[in-house]
């Protein structure tokens, strides 16, 4: 990023809120390129939700523990709350909204539907992306590996059993 091209309001002008540095970023989200200014203290997940209207990624803790904000950054799962939007400049972001194709659910989503892999659904987008990362390049994952992969995503409703079953089913059904 070119730090010279930013617009900075004078931080000393009127207390802490006035000094909102903005930087124009160019980021590819779910295949679409977005170029727009963001305040540098805006997290990636807030940017996706507020600026791009992609509210499928949820904010659950803002300290990197719960995993509800999980998105893929250059195809790897990261916490959307621990990254500033400005840091996604020049990178590719994938969110839950990219999984389904039109009316057709992704095989992972279908498996979660068939096997009761969700209840309130708040943690679900993050869990889907974690599972996507786990299964994308592998077949025949064990339950232990699934549980290990899921250990960075909290779910308070399901007790994880339905989620594990769903991922096992997707491992079978997802042609990849």
């Amino acid at each position: 990023m070119d730090v010279q091209q930013e617009s900075v309001v004078d931080p000393a002008a009127a207390g802490p809120a006035a000094g909102v540095q903005e930087v124009t970023i160019r980021v590819t989200v779910n295949g679409a390129v977005h170029e727009r200014p963001v305040p540098v203290r805006t997290s990636l997940v807030d940017f996706l939700r507020e600026d791009l209207g992609l509210t499928g990624s949820h904010v659950g803790c803002e300290h990197g523990v719960c995993g509800a904000c999980t998105v893929l950054l250059d195809a790897e799962p990261v916490r959307g709350c621990l990254l500033f939007a400005v840091q996604a400049d020049g990178h590719e972001v994938t969110t839950v909204e990219a999984l389904a194709t039109g009316d057709e659910l992704h095989p992972l989503q279908q498996a979660f539907w068939e096997h009761h892999g969700l209840q309130c659904g708040f943690c679900t987008p993050g869990i889907l992306l974690t599972a996507y990362d786990l299964l994308r390049e592998r077949h025949g994952v064990s339950e232990a590996e699934i549980r290990e992969a899921l250990s960075g995503n909290l779910c308070r409703c399901t007790g994880y059993q339905g989620i594990v079953r769903s991922i096992q089913a997707a491992d079978e059904s997802w042609e990849r």
Binding site: G19, R41, G64, E76, P77, L83, Q87, T130, G152
Partner: protein
């Protein structure tokens, strides 16, 4: 939980970075993976005026072997370290270096390791963190750069206390260099956390090189038992030249634990941590000194 305002700078080179550090000094914080720093910003427990993001700095990442020494760049992701240096990974030829991969695998969860960096973990200097213990046990060297040049710092000098290192405000941790360990080296990292995947309550890192049934070189460090990573040179020295019998290991562990002064908090008393340290140290040393590693599995 939104961070206080800050100025954001994203230098491209190490030279540019150290210039910025010189300019902003203590007002600045280096942002690497951000997996510890950003939560602190969000809680407003940290409020630097300037964030210097080093993720785009060239020459700061990567894992290389130079003249038998492993060199890991500061912005190398923990997940990369884990993949490359774990048993079976492409960089795991050295029995000692595998400890780094093992330590990295214990850090947080997958999503944290994807983004978290080696340098970030070391410079954050959490006394309960695994990587500082691993580099201490391995006898690594931490390399710091400032406008004035480069200096090498030994772990016991680098880790100075609770979230405190020897880095000066104008210095950037650029890499960690890990010496080669002899053939026949085994390493082991064991930890107990309240819940799997969490920060260690106590972790033990041990590297032991054996020849003809005797220990020829050893390194031991512990996390979670003091204000900083705790190196155990006495334990290492007590092993060298000896046949590592369980009795000897137990005595060395007991000796060390008696001298530890671990913290007490809501997750466990000092006594508990001391007991964990003794137990884990024995198991780790038994594992690292047994040719099959059967001890740790038991």
């Amino acid at each position: 939980m939104k961070p206080a305002p800050f100025q954001y700078l994203a230098p491209r080179s190490i030279e540019e970075t150290v210039e910025l550090l010189r300019e902003h000094g203590e007002d600045a914080k280096v942002l690497a993976g951000g997996q510890s720093l950003v939560p602190m910003l969000n809680f407003r427990l940290a409020r630097p005026a300037v964030l210097i993001d080093v993720n785009s700095v060239t020459g700061l990442d990567g894992i290389e072997v130079e003249d038998g020494t492993l060199s890991v760049g500061a912005t190398t992701r923990q997940r990369t370290l884990e993949r490359r240096l774990s048993a079976g990974g492409s960089g795991a030829q050295d029995g000692g270096w595998a400890l780094l991969g093992e330590a990295a695998g214990h850090i947080g969860h997958l999503h944290i390791r994807t983004r978290g960096t080696v340098g970030g973990s070391l410079a954050h200097a959490d006394p309960a963190a695994e990587l500082p213990a691993a580099v201490s046990a391995l006898g690594a060297t931490l390399v710091a750069r400032s406008r004035d040049g480069e200096r090498e710092i030994a772990p016991h000098e680098f880790f100075q206390g609770f979230f405190t290192t020897a880095l000066r405000p104008d210095e950037l941790l650029t890499r960690v260099r890990v010496p080669s360990w002899p053939e026949g080296t085994r390493s082991c990292l064991l930890e107990v956390s309240r819940r799997r995947g969490d920060f260690a309550q106590v972790a033990v890192a041990a590297v032991v090189a054996m020849a003809d049934g005797r220990v020829v070189r050893a390194g031991v460090a512990l996390a979670g038992v003091g204000a900083s990573t705790v190196e155990a040179p006495d334990v290492a020295a007590g092993l060298v030249g000896e046949v590592p019998r369980p009795q000897l290991i137990a005595e060395l562990a007991d000796d060390l634990c008696a001298r530890l002064d671990p913290p007490s908090d809501t997750h466990g008393s000092a006594g508990y941590r001391r007991a964990l340290a003794g137990h884990l140290l024995q198991r780790a040393l038994l594992d690292a000194t047994s040719p099959t590693g059967a001890a740790a599995a038991a």
